[in-house]
Amino acid sequence: MVDPILSARGVAKHFGGLKAVNDVSFDVLPQQIFGIAGPNGSGKSTLFNVITKVPFGPTHGDVLLNGRPIQGLSAHRIALSGVARTFQRENVFASLSAIDNVLVAVESYLPTAPFAEQIERAEEALNLVGFPANMHNSPAGSVPIFYRKQLMIASALALQPKVLLLDEPASSLTGPEIERMKQIILRVRDNGMTVILIEHVLGLLMEVSDQLMVLDQGTMIASGDPVAVTRDPIVIEAYLGVAHE
């Protein structure tokens, strides 16, 4: 039996009376792509927020990385300990060049490494996601959306994370770009990393996920094999609502 690399135990986030995430527990195995689906407002991104403590931690519950709780760490320590994350929107440092965006992460992960090595690591991360070499020195704010998403992933990968949390990487992308994003996600996994993927593009989610969890109104309503989960009547009801005679 393989030990989970990341586990959530009764994780909850309450805003007053609103239970945005309500006692969610799950295990993610090493090198797994763990999909998370759910209607808008179901608590998917809030779950990522409480795992990474950006911008807030959980109201209660534990998140374990390799069996060790990480909720006592500050946000930047969680990132350096091996949990990296991208945002749904393209949150790049607009006035910094593409390679400087990645260097920020490399420098925080390997602060004492020689600059030449840091540059090499940054280029490796950019190459892994297929970011064009001729755009390394372009201001990040000026590159098209797909490249900004690549850049966000490359920056996260530069931290050499054990677990990469991707929040809707395919949003706002065209069909061919979604296919390229799928290849990037699979490549990341093939490089030994574990991926937790929130996605509204269900085709992509179904194609890459080894396991799928569905949230509705902050509560986990299904988890398991992706095909079985999507056939679950509770999941269908959550997405489509109850049919009225």
């Binding site: 950006v54 500050s74 350096l80 945002f87 949150n91 440092f93 920020v104």
Partner: protein
């Protein structure tokens, strides 16, 4: 107007502009990074001057000028970082941080100014000029101290600019300034960088105080008027980029120098405020500003 007078006014404007640029840089740096105005900035100016006096004056420690200034820079950086930790950090995640920081930094200013009065007394002091003598360029006569002051300000601003652009901490500060959450997710200790920014702002303000202390008498409240001018510069130029207040300071320096000549010392601030309001009416984001804060 006589050419000699014109040259003299422009020269005064340049000296003023250089000083204002140095004062405004720290203020702008804190705004672009933390999104708050530091009202203790004027007290930093006074504290820097008093520390340099303490370290360099024959009546106090009597160190040579250069080590005295370097030592005051180090102390100012530490005090800036400490004040961030005490006055701003506890409220950083609050939505009303802008309002709270007005009160806490004003409180910091009052504490620092009263501390200066308590330690060094109300009696005016002055730091010796940076150099004696003057050089003549035709009709233009420039005091060596003014030349050195302008050269030093230029060098300091260049150093700060290069530090932000090319150094590792500078790159990280720019990242933190643009997106705190994304920076934290990439492993940056955001509060630590905020403290560093406060430290650098205090250091540059302290240096401005040293220069002011060489040309004017020092008093614990000597930073109040420069703080007002620095605020005008930052708002007039736009609180967006590192370079914006530098250009704005040079313009404000010239406007003030010409105003003093044409309408007198007492009306010059009114002219500055009027100019600032006109600019804000036409370009609300400031003369060189952008709506988005970047560093």
């Amino acid at each position: 107007m006589d050419t000699a007078i014109l040259i003299d006014i422009v020269k005064s404007g340049l000296v003023l502009g250089a000083l204002y640029a140095l004062m405004a840089t720290g203020l702008s740096l804190v705004w672009t990074t933390l999104g708050i105005f530091n009202f203790a900035h004027g007290a930093f100016i006074a504290l820097g001057a008093y520390l340099a006096w303490q370290f360099s004056s024959a009546d106090a420690w009597g160190l040579p000028m250069v080590p005295a200034i370097l030592l005051s820079c180090a102390v100012m950086f530490a005090i800036g970082a400490l004040l961030h930790f005490l006055l701003v950090k506890p409220f950083e995640r609050r939505q009303d941080i802008v309002l709270i920081s007005v009160i806490t930094t004003l409180a910091g200013a009052v504490i620092l100014e009263n501390g200066l009065q308590l330690i060094w007394g109300a009696r005016s002091k002055q730091i010796p000029p940076l150099a004696e003598g003057a050089v003549e360029f035709g009709a233009l006569s420039l005091r060596n101290s003014e030349l050195i002051l302008m050269g030093l300000v230029l060098a300091i601003l260049l150093c700060v600019g290069l530090f932000l652009r090319y150094s590792r901490p500078g790159r990280s500060m720019r990242a933190v300034a643009q997106n705190q959450d994304a920076a934290a997710l990439l492993g940056l200790n955001v509060p630590l960088y905020f403290s560093m920014v406060f430290g650098i702002a205090a250091l540059t303000a302290g240096l401005a105080g040293v220069f002011v202390g060489t040309i004017r008498f020092m008093s614990p409240s000597m930073g109040s008027e420069p703080l007002m001018k620095a605020l005008i510069v930052v708002i007039f130029g736009g609180v967006a980029r590192f370079s914006s207040p530098i250009y704005a300071a040079l313009i404000i320096g010239q406007i003030e120098a010409f105003s003093v000549y044409f309408v007198g010392l007492y009306w010059a601030p009114a002219v500055l405020f009027f100019t600032m309001i006109v600019v804000l009416l036409i370009k609300p984001e400031g003369l060189f500003g952008k709506y988005q804060r970047t560093l």
